[in-house]
């Protein structure tokens, strides 16, 4: 298939395809990070993850409208504020949900699947009632549109670079919080043994609430960032949920490093295959590969030794 093209063409396509893979990788990591915390660390099967992302997207849309109406001169920088607000909104809703719903289910982790699935339906209908059934278009400042012109045939999407930087930033932040801070140690202690952690004086309820809130907040930021590349509508969250679980489960539920490794391998397989065959076939083969590997390694790529 390459016979017809010049060497220069091919070179630049490989560079761009490399970028496409990296962008897909960042997108996967960003959408999976929140779930890696909630599902990986807390064991809650959060089917409403996509809806927390879309809440972030709607917050971004509202912020953009506010800036356009009241502060048009500051519009070029609104996105940063929007991401913070998205984090706060999704995080706060997450904490509320934890208090009302999730905390009663820690002893019955499988039931969280049903409960959060119901929650996702409720949130979808709430979005539909509040914002309307139609999709909304989020206006972006001019500097975030278009591409960086590297050479005549190599162009790098600015929004892709933005998502990559954001992913690195948030991943480093989460890794620091989970593995270096006092609070992260408490989280891991609670996950490993709730009763014992309580006995040594950790306020397990508070830790649970903040952990769930953090996971949802990160989902909100991801949703905010994805307004650049995807759609914002009441059911858009459903577009992400399958890939998100795939990444987290494949990586090994309790491991942050596993999530990153799995996002990397899935995204690279997917984008390489997509280049040689149609998108649907690429997806099928990627899923087959994942299923095959999970049959050999049910615990995922990276699994911590956990006490049973």
């Amino acid at each position: 298939m390459f016979g017809d093209y010049s060497l220069g063409d091919l070179g630049s396509i490989f560079v761009m395809q490399g970028f496409a893979g990296l962008i897909l990788f960042s997108v996967y990591v960003l959408m999976a990070l929140g779930l890696a915390i909630i599902f990986g660390q807390m064991g809650v099967i959060n089917m409403a993850h996509g809806e927390f992302m879309i809440l972030g997207a709607y917050v971004t849309w509202m912020t953009s409208n506010l800036f356009q109406t009241y502060l048009p001169s500051l519009f070029s920088g609104y996105f940063f504020l929007a991401m913070i607000l998205a984090f706060v909104a999704s995080g706060a809703l997450g904490m509320l949900v934890e208090w009302v719903l999730i905390r009663h289910l820690y002893k019955r982790p499988l039931d969280t699947l049903l409960a959060t699935w119901g929650l996702s339906l409720i949130l979808q209908q709430a979005f539909r009632s509040v914002f309307g059934a139609r999709e909304v278009g989020v206006d972006l400042p001019q500097w975030m549109l278009g591409s960086l012109h590297v050479s005549d045939s190599i162009e790098v999407p600015i929004n892709g670079v933005f998502v990559m930087c954001l992913t690195v930033l948030i991943t480093v932040g989460v890794a620091y919080v989970m593995y270096k801070s006092r609070w992260g140690r408490q989280v891991r202690a609670v996950v490993q043994n709730r009763i014992m952690a309580g006995a040594v004086g950790i306020n397990t309820e508070k830790v649970d609430r903040y952990t769930y809130g953090l996971g949802c907040g990160i989902a909100g930021v991801a949703g905010s960032a994805f307004t650049m590349i995807g759609s914002t509508g009441p059911t858009s969250g459903q577009l992400y949920i399958v890939d998100t679980f795939l990444v987290v489960v494949f990586g090994g539920a309790a491991s942050l490093l596993g999530t990153i490794a799995s996002a990397f391998s899935i995204s690279q397989t997917q984008s390489t295959l997509e280049f040689f065959m149609s998108g649907s076939m690429a997806k099928v083969l990627t899923l087959l590969a994942v299923v095959g590997i999970l049959m050999l390694r049910p615990q995922g790529l990276f699994a911590l030794k956990v006490r049973k």
């Binding site: 999709e135 278009g137 012109h149 892709g160 650049m228 590349i229 995807g230 059911t235």
Partner: protein, 419 residues
């Protein structure tokens, strides 16, 4: 007998009669149209439909919840507007239209169940409804079994025809061929790259488009790619487009994927003012989500645009906005949904009956001169004769009409040489 005039008449009945007489002057004050030619119910309704002396009931069956609510909301709005306008003009055969709205909830078995409920329990005279082909396929056996009448608004892949369905949208050849001809002639296009969502409509449409490009236009299809519904990452296919440098990108990507596709196309530096792109899946409704700046310059092949400059459309658009808000936009399917109640009304009046069999038989040849898209007429095969138009997307989310066929295009749901 005349000695005791009132003895045999019970007093409540007498009171009723008196009241009726007292009300007589009021009746003459009602609009003439509503009583002028209202024929007896027994004559116009021989099959037990929900028709009374003053009312006739129809069903509206769309998804008001679930994924498809995004698309179907416009159709619901258009049908309600049409019904309100028809009622304001005196209704159908002197009867006001009452509607029962059911929610298909984006779930195909639910559509079938609700259709059955509308036909069997509510005895509706017609159903305005369905949007996706999947929902229509689920409802079709129901309307055929219980002999209902379905007015289906969406442009679709063709390969179907039923006595019990009137297709007010375009079938595939009506939508695609004229647009391809135009772009081949106007842009000298020889090479085409197809991108679609992976289900029946894009695949059938692209099959027809490919045959047309290869056999009629003598061009070449340099790529044909499908992505699963809901896919949000298109960077790989965009790279392939860059590599093959097609004259035209031809797209039928739908739903949330649509938004992702155009945003990423723009981000990858593909300038739609230089790269020709022809889509059959983006209307004003979709641009709301995509954002005008991401798609400005692209060509869409439809039969209706909100910006059409004709007298019918100039009254339709303000009426729609007055009922549903200044910010709502009207896409191709919304307009086609608006045709449903009108075509049904005209057909009932032509047939002089609400009976489904008589309506099905009377449908061919029914013309609607007040259609926002211009004149339409029902074909023998229950599809519409309509024009094909090409519009160019502008920054404000509206289309600028670039081309329209001189004559109405004949619907051809089973195109020879294209299967």
């Amino acid at each position: 007998m005349s000695d005791e005039p009132n003895k045999g008449l019970l007093s409540p009945l007498r009171r009723k009669l008196l009241m009726g007489m007292a009300a007589l002057p009021a009746i003459t004050m009602l609009p003439k149209a509503s009583f002028a030619q209202a024929p007896a119910t027994s004559a116009v309704n021989t099959t037990g439909l929900a028709v009374t002396d003053t009312e006739v009931t129809v069903g509206i069956l769309h998804s008001a919840t679930g994924t498809m609510a995004i698309s179907e909301t416009g159709s619901i709005e258009a049908e309600k507007l049409a019904i309100e306008q028809i009622n304001a003009m005196g209704g159908v055969l002197g009867r006001k239209i009452k509607f029962i709205q059911e929610d298909g909830a984006s779930d195909w078995p639910t559509f079938a169940e609700k259709a059955k409920k509308l036909l069997v329990n509510d005895k509706v005279a017609a159903i305005m409804g369905c949007w996706t082909s999947a929902s229509r396929k689920a409802v079709l056996p129901v309307v055929e079994q219980y002999n209902g009448m379905l007015y289906y608004p969406t442009f679709y892949e063709g390969l179907e025809q039923s006595k019990n369905v009137i297709y007010t949208g375009q079938e595939a050849t009506q939508q695609i061929l004229a647009g391809l001809n135009w772009i081949a002639k106007e842009k000298g296009a020889k090479s085409f790259f197809f991108v679609g969502s992976d289900y029946i409509w894009p695949r059938t449409s692209n099959k027809i488009a490919r045959k047309h490009v290869e056999n009629v236009l003598k061009g070449k299809v340099v790529g044909e790619e499908y992505y699963p519904l809901g896919n949000t990452q298109f960077n790989s296919v965009i790279n392939k487009i860059k590599l093959t440098k097609p004259d035209v990108i031809f797209t039928d990507v739908v739903g949330g994927s649509n938004v992702a596709f155009y945003k990423q196309l723009k981000a990858a530096g593909i300038d739609l003012s230089k790269q020709a792109l022809l889509t059959i899946s983006v209307t004003e409704d979709e641009i709301d989500g995509i954002g005008g700046e991401n798609i400005a310059g692209a060509y869409a092949c439809m039969k209706y645009f909100q910006s059409l400059d004709n007298p019918n459309n100039k009254t339709f658009v303000p009426a729609f906005k007055k009922m549903w808000g200044e910010k709502t936009v009207i896409g191709d399917v919304t307009q086609a949904a608006y045709l449903g109640p009108w075509l049904w009304k005209l057909t009932v009046e032509k047939a002089g009956s609400f009976d489904v069999d008589k309506i099905a038989a009377a449908s061919p040849g029914v013309e609607f001169k007040g259609a926002p898209e211009g004149y339409v007429r029902i074909h023998e095969n229950h599809h519409l004769w309509s024009k094909t138009r090409v519009g160019r997307a502008k920054l404000d989310g509206q289309f600028e009409l670039i081309f329209e066929t001189a004559d109405l295009v004949e619907p051809d749901p089973f195109p020879k040489g294209y299967q």
